[in-house]
Symmetry: C2
Amino acid sequence: MAKAPVLTPRADDFPRWYQDLVGKAELADNGPVRGTMVVRPYGYGLWERMQQELDARIKAAGAQNAYFPLFIPQYLTKEAEHVEGFAPELAVVTHGGGKELEEPVVVRPTSETIVNDYFSKWVQSYRDLPLLINQWANVVRWELRPRVFLRTTEFLWQEGHTAHATFEDAREYAARIHREVYADFLENVLAMDAVPGRKTVRERFAGAINTLTLEGMMGDGKALQLTTSHELGQNFAKAFETRYLSKDGREEYVWQTSWGSTTRMVGALVMMHGDDHGLRVPPRLAPVQVVVLAVKGDDAVLDTVRGIGDRLKAAGLRVHVDDRTDTPFGRRAVDWELKGVPVRVEVGPRDVENGTAVLVRRVPGSKEPTPIGALPEILPSVLEDDQALLLAQSRQRRHDRTVEVTTVEEAAEAARTGWARIAWDTLGVEGEARLAEQGVTVRCLVAEDGSVPESDDQPGNIAVVARAY
Amino acid sequence: MAKAPVLTPRADDFPRWYQDLVGKAELADNGPVRGTMVVRPYGYGLWERMQQELDARIKAAGAQNAYFPLFIPQYLTKEAEHVEGFAPELAVVTHGGGKELEEPVVVRPTSETIVNDYFSKWVQSYRDLPLLINQWANVVRWELRPRVFLRTTEFLWQEGHTAHATFEDAREYAARIHREVYADFLENVLAMDAVPGRKTVRERFAGAINTLTLEGMMGDGKALQLTTSHELGQNFAKAFETRYLSKDGREEYVWQTSWGSTTRMVGALVMMHGDDHGLRVPPRLAPVQVVVLAVKGDDAVLDTVRGIGDRLKAAGLRVHVDDRTDTPFGRRAVDWELKGVPVRVEVGPRDVENGTAVLVRRVPGSKEPTPIGALPEILPSVLEDDQALLLAQSRQRRHDRTVEVTTVEEAAEAARTGWARIAWDTLGVEGEARLAEQGVTVRCLVAEDGSVPESDDQPGNIAVVARAY
């Protein structure tokens, strides 16, 4: 009798596979209020590691963390385009402390407005610039078609907000965050292939003059927007009177950026790297890089796994020792596979006699006996190899499933199974609108050489089009 | 002409001194919605360091981080005493996504109810216990008399929630968190004298069967509750049907704990260690332990301060180099003093010639020339000495301002300027009620030997009474 698969196979039903995996790997549950989620310890451990890696990069780029309030008074909702963009998604508090409020307050969907209310007080002189702030927070955008991690009414994120003396300085900082924080993190920690590009006017953040994005291809060929960095121009500065006294004594409006990344990246991790057996976590991200499993509960085995655990921790790896032998070994092995821990070291009574352990690598799916004494030396390079392999596989997928097309019809057809690249001159805003009617969007514009275009109408721009989450 | 003080002197007006300090040291601003706050980068840096130190201790105690939703449906508000306790402080969302909600949702004031909704699903067998969860989050309690950090409508905190198989295990875990996480952190990182004790029934958390507290004496002799750890008994387990199958096959309700610490500790830091010149940050907490200041902007000075900065960083210290010589030196020195950075190393042109720097220690207030080459070696022990001095000063204050009394009248009188200790047998719940009419509360019960009593009526219990924030 063939074993029933633990997860719905991806080829049968990708969305159901995703839901199965998120539930069975204990990443998250749906919350009681529709569209909210409960992030379980293993899922939150992934997010904590993302936070650590991003936070270090954000600080290296000179920004400091702060915290702005959850509640925004309605009188602060200025900057017309921004307010209009977010109005349909707002949650509103009308009662507090047992009374109806004189003025209802909005639960932040993002913090540009409240941040500018304070920037306009804190910024006086050119000496106060650049002002580089980041916050880690929850935000709420009422979601009509929720999907756990990908689109949730409440999500966790970091949002950066900066003010600069000149257009050029703001532009360079948005690009720096895009490159040194986000692109570097996605490639070198999450092992994700991601295309850096520029959003079209239609897809831009409400209130921005330019949005930079990193777009990833998921396992089903759809696109997911991974991170965004916005140039806000002087739109918020003018709405909030955020001005500074320049070196030559003139009052000038500041130039601003904002940029964010969210718990959606946990969903991206699943859809980018998961397979029919579960998640595959990139070793550099993994909260647990190596799990050492006792096959049975006899003393020699338990002593051995604990000893291996200690030596691997001493070698600087993130290690978990699974000695819960009151649960059958097979069930625990399947569970660690589902959770995508990069390496399993399995030790049974016969292994102890032989001085070996079975080394199971989640990414290539290999399984071979290995001398216990050699583990501390070989595992670091095994993990680096598997990190590289995940990145290579995600690159390969995009290359295999992206086609060059020359008409709107071909682009729509290609987007059924992957991505299409089409000259922006050919597509244009009208072609973009026609694709949108079929649920296909321009994910971003890229230059011929793969760089990020300086403008929408830069000659040679290519539109990357796809269906998207 | 005498210099005007930067802050209102504490002796003149303690609450105004506190507000002055919080604003001028750039810790926080009031938010636009009454009772909310904007935590500025320097204030947030203090909170981040608190988070790091607490998080490491929480993980060492075996708990894992997770995240539960901000919004709680009203049907989940079970456990009568708990619901009644929090009802007057709730914020309610009635509109979402442009529509009135069919059922309004509550913004979490704490998460016992929503956590139990999931614990009741996750816990099946004794093998699932203990279940040890913590979350870092924002919560909202509508505040009628807000004061920044101390009582705010929204605040940041960690809240732990655990489920255990037995009463004893839950009791021991609440005590372990109280001792190994909170007491250890307050004493060894925040350099705060804090009295560990047990809350009376009147002062207990709504829904708990026992609350452990750590109470600190502020600079004005009032008390502040710093952290709490609750035994919840089976109150929530029964309201939410959180049960497990025991080893011998019986369905049993779990025993629970919850425990929390908040951004209020930033306020405590100010009121515990601040003086008329500003904050004094304990070196082990300080985001910046040493600031190296260039007195003037000539090349030799700038080279020297940068070199000192590099060598002190290499010695493992948290260092900031202040080379913003376009701002007058005096103003910067006052600013670092206000911010309470433990050590300033000041370097002017003459110092460079002499190979010395002026070493200014914030805690003892000393100032002396020191050979530059000796700094990396002496500063670590200077910082440890000043850490110890802060703790000793806070202990001394409590000893000096606590009196032993034998009547309710004497207790009320003593609470005008400090704390009183009175036998709980003498005071009793009636005496407690009489004190409460005068704004004086029992902060906690302690045993004669200073340990935490096992029960309210343990013979020899002493009530510590005070006015409190």
